[in-house]
């Protein structure tokens, strides 16, 4: 027994940690690649309503977002508290939606246009009036695939 222990203690070098950075870098690159930084700063506060019958959205690159909600606190002084539309990085009027859809389409391949979806990220407190207006504009722009953004959850 004693011989055994002696032997062991003598031939126990420290585990080499030289490859530890490599492993960590591998993980790091994975997260760097998968991370999607938020592209737009939200000027409107949006808490989407809950729903149970939800579907995952496919092909994020083909989705254009329309945000609807009341302006965030620091914007309320200049824009008030009533529900507004945000397209990309600015407030917009209902009339600008057709233009927005047109520019979104220009950036895409012609084959992909029928698969383009418009996601309505609307706050649960907004009234249907503004939503209906947007839907009418989308119909005029022939962007018929829409998606009401919701959270998963029971009522």
């Amino acid at each position: 027994m004693s011989k055994f222990r002696k032997n062991g203690s003598k031939s126990m070098p420290a585990i080499s940690t030289a490859s530890l950075p490599d492993i960590v870098f591998m993980l790091l690159f994975f997260f760097m690649v998968t991370t999607v930084m938020r592209e737009t700063t939200l000027f409107v506060s949006v808490v989407t309503p809950k729903a149970t019958e939800i579907k995952k959205m496919e092909k994020k690159s083909l989705v254009s977002y329309i945000y609807i909600g009341s302006p965030v606190k620091r914007m309320q002084a200049s824009y008030g508290t009533s529900a507004r539309i945000q397209l990309n990085d600015a407030f917009a009027d209902v009339g600008e939606i057709q233009e927005f859809i047109a520019t979104e389409r220009e950036a895409k391949d012609e084959k992909e246009i029928p698969y383009m979806t418009t996601s309505l990220k609307a706050d649960e407190t907004v009234k249907m009036g503004i939503i209906t207006d947007i839907k009418q504009e989308l119909r005029k722009a022939n962007a018929l695939k829409i998606n009401y953004s919701t959270r998963k959850g029971e009522y």
């Binding site: 950075p21 959205m57 695939k145």
Partner: protein, 183 residues
């Protein structure tokens, strides 16, 4: 030469792991893996301008009228209804198969007509959309289980299409109206 080589020690790479960990933790924290979810719908195309409004010949029994007013109350087929009953109401309407005189002839012909006011809250609208979608999903699941022994979502594309043919989801939204008088 020899002395110079001895005077250039190897850079200690021991702290490299720490730096990498720091970056790793930063990206771990900032990464949001949330997938966008929602209720997908298709809008009807805009009617042609020169096209006269045609009176569609749909039997009244095949239309399930759901109205939501500006104070978020439901009027279903002319009667007030609580949102909790809507799912079962829609299911019995769709899956009537001509048994009751006032409900649909068969699921294929059944159309749900949804109409909301400009003052309806978005939350209520989504809730109604959700209940109607749930009614269809439950019926489809039932059909899928009895026909293929699997849930609708687990079926392959061809079988799903077959189920969809039995229960086509027809939710029609009327041209917007302003009944409540507020915008």
């Amino acid at each position: 030469m020899a002395s110079k080589r001895r005077g250039l020690p190897e850079i200690n790479a021991g702290s490299m792991a720490d730096i990498a960990f720091l970056l790793l933790i930063f990206f771990l924290v900032t990464t949001t893996m949330d997938i966008d979810t929602g209720i997908a719908r298709k809008l009807p195309p805009m009617p042609e301008e020169d096209q006269p409004e045609e009176d569609s010949q749909i039997n009244a029994r095949n239309i399930y009228v759901v109205l939501i007013n500006s104070s978020n109350q439901l009027l279903v087929e002319g009667e007030m209804m609580d949102i909790s009953q809507l799912r079962d109401g829609a299911k019995s309407f769709i899956d009537n198969n001509g048994i009751r005189e006032d409900l649909s002839e068969n699921p294929e012909k059944a159309i749900i007509s949804l109409q909301n006011d400009r003052g309806t809250s978005y939350k209520m609208y989504i809730r109604v959309q959700n209940e109607l979608a749930a009614a269809y999903n439950e019926l489809r699941n039932k059909a899928a289980l009895s026909k293929f022994g699997e849930r609708y979502n687990d079926l392959n594309k061809v079988d799903q299409k077959e189920i969809r043919k039995i229960y086509p989801q027809k939710i029609s939204e009327a041209e917007p109206k302003n009944i409540g008088g507020n915008s």
